[in-house]
């Protein structure tokens, strides 16, 4: 059974005013448990609106959302539980830190959940481990950490609630390349270790291609496509038509194929490109003439 399912999900902003605008329109989705889904789309394509529905922060104008088979707006108890089941990390989550110590801040979610002292302690340790923060950070003030570390604390604050689904809204925005890689690797490791469902909103096709198993492409408030990375990038032309890019290495290989070079498959990560090219080199016996 799909862990996340939406039926005809529509959300209008400014309903009943002249500024009425459909942020998302008739979204039907089914996301299986254990996937790492990359969510991609332009600014204003409805990504953020969609994910805020998935844990019940926004109420749909019409349509239904099912998490684990239950309609999350059935009653308020279910809604409260959904908040914990679906952990949502906002953009620039470090701006929500408020406690005196890292430890206390991460414990905020579990405390609201009603964990016991012991459970809280364990959840905090586990979450800090997941985001690669050593124990010496426990007693530090979150405000004296670096930007990347703050963000990891904020993500740990959501992981500590032990959600079944983790949604991250552009977790790498504003970080340097090293910080990006650290965060994305942590998320990927977390996904592998916990076997949870993870949704990763991103602007970077490269990152999505590298880390995700499925890709959800949003365009103008509707689902443009949902499928595996290979399926998605096989529609490279259409994706470029709606103004999104495919990974540069994919573009390179599609240009190469027009010149007569056959890779035999869609290439969307640099690691894979390297393998293929090396293979071709070896086949040609190390001459420079690959094509």
């Amino acid at each position: 059974m799909a862990i996340i399912k939406t039926e005809h999900l529509t959300h209008l902003y400014g309903k009943g005013t002249p500024f009425e605008k459909a942020a998302i329109h008739d979204v039907n989705l089914e996301i299986e448990e254990g996937e790492l889904v990359g969510v991609i789309g332009h600014t204003g394509s409805g990504k953020s609106t969609l994910i805020q529905h998935l844990n019940g922060l926004l109420k749909p104008t019409s349509g239904h959302i099912y998490i684990d088979g239950t309609d999350i707006f059935e009653n308020t108890q279910i809604l409260q539980k959904t908040r914990f089941k679906v952990g949502l990390v906002f953009q620039y989550p470090e701006y929500q830190l408020f406690e005196e110590t890292v430890e206390k801040d991460i414990a905020f979610g579990p405390k609201n959940l009603g964990f016991t002292e012991e459970q809280i302690n364990e959840a905090v340790s586990h979450a800090m481990e997941c985001v690669g923060l050593s124990d010496k950070f426990r007693k530090k003030s979150p405000f004296e950490l670096s930007g990347g570390q703050k963000r990891r604390v904020a993500i740990a604050g959501v992981i500590a609630m032990r959600p079944k689904v983790l949604i991250l809204d552009e977790p790498t925005a504003g970080l340097d390349p090293k910080g990006r890689d650290t965060i994305l690797n942590l998320i990927s490791d977390y996904h592998r270790a916990e076997k949870n469902t993870v949704l990763l909103v991103s602007h970077s096709m490269e990152d999505v291609a590298k880390y995700c198993s499925k890709v959800l492409v949003m365009n103008q408030g509707s689902v443009f496509s949902y499928g595996t990375v290979a399926e998605t990038f096989s529609r490279a032309d259409e994706i470029e038509q709606i103004g999104l890019s495919v990974p540069q290495v994919t573009r390179l290989f599609s240009l190469l194929s027009k010149e007569g070079f056959e890779a035999g498959e869609e290439v969307y990560t640099i690691a894979r490109a390297k393998e293929i090219l090396l293979q071709k080199f070896l086949q040609k016996g190390g001459t420079n003439d690959v094509i």
């Binding site: 805020q52 922060l57 952990g87 701006y95 929500q96 979610g109 609201n112």
Partner: protein, 270 residues
């Protein structure tokens, strides 16, 4: 959503009322308030009411904007009316236990209610038809004489401008932080007052932190553009008194004079 706050919101437009110099508008509103507290007879108030309605029609401000502006003040009006009704001395009309209602009490209550409503509607006309920037500019110019006693007029005006500019930004920020904390299971809607006040801490602290961060960034950006206070600063948009302002001043002047004269010769509320 928090962004529904609209008290004193500016309605952009090009009407005569919009085009009057903001300094003139502020002075006229001040005069209006003084007249409001001098006159005490129904006919004068009728005159003022007609004038206000006329001004709103000319400025093309929708009628429901007036209602939205008055609504938040209603409890205050009711409260003062009740106080006046029961605590003004005079010939008692109704007497019950320690409460008594007098004819004078009724008059004063009605008079004060009308005054407050006119006051609100009149001052709202100013904020409805003048952009916040024009308003602070005008205040800066009007308070310029205070520089003699070393009052930092320019700095105060700049502070007002910045404060106005950041209201929507901070509202948006609050909205975001609230959503983020709700996603971490914060319960903001239920519980006792103490519990709810405590629930605000996870929202207020990040909000303060971000306000300070923004303030620092803004200060740095201003310094980078060589801002160093009002000394020797010229403005891009100069304020000029025009014929329109003279006309507006004459019309309202005559009207106010009429209202006061009527007050002298006609029977009063009290």
């Amino acid at each position: 959503m928090l962004s529904d706050i609209t008290i004193g919101q500016f309605f952009p437009g090009k009407s005569i009322v919009h085009r009057i110099d903001p300094r003139a508008k502020i002075l006229l509103v001040l005069a209006f308030i003084i007249v409001l507290f001098i006159v005490r007879n129904p006919v004068s108030f009728l005159l003022i009411a007609v004038f206000l309605i006329g001004a709103y029609i000319v400025a093309k401000i929708p009628a429901n904007a007036i209602w939205r502006g008055v609504k938040p003040i209603l409890p205050l009006i009711v409260f003062t009316s009740i106080l006046n009704l029961f605590f003004v001395d005079g010939e008692p009309l109704v007497h019950w236990w320690i409460f008594k209602i007098t004819a004078e009490g009724i008059s004063v209550a009605v008079l004060m209610a009308i005054r407050i409503v006119c006051l609100i509607i009149g001052s709202l006309l100013l904020t409805y038809t003048t952009s916040p920037i024009a308003l602070t500019d005008a205040i800066e110019r009007l308070l310029k004489p205070l520089k003699v006693i070393r009052f930092p007029v320019h700095e105060m005006a700049m502070m007002m401008t910045i404060a106005l500019r950041f209201i929507p930004t901070l509202l948006e920020e609050t909205d975001k932080i609230m959503s983020a904390q709700k996603a971490r299971g914060a319960d903001l809607e239920t519980g006792s007052i103490v519990k709810r006040a405590k629930a605000l801490i996870p929202i207020l602290i990040p909000l303060f932190v971000s306000a300070f961060r923004r303030a620092e960034d803004l200060a740095l950006a201003m310094e980078c553009r060589c801002y160093r206070g009002g000394e020797g600063r010229t403005r891009m948009k100069q304020l000029y008194f025009s014929r329109l302002d003279a006309a507006a001043a004459s019309v309202t002047g005559v009207l106010f004079a009429a209202a006061i004269l009527m007050d002298i010769f006609l029977p009063k509320f009290i």
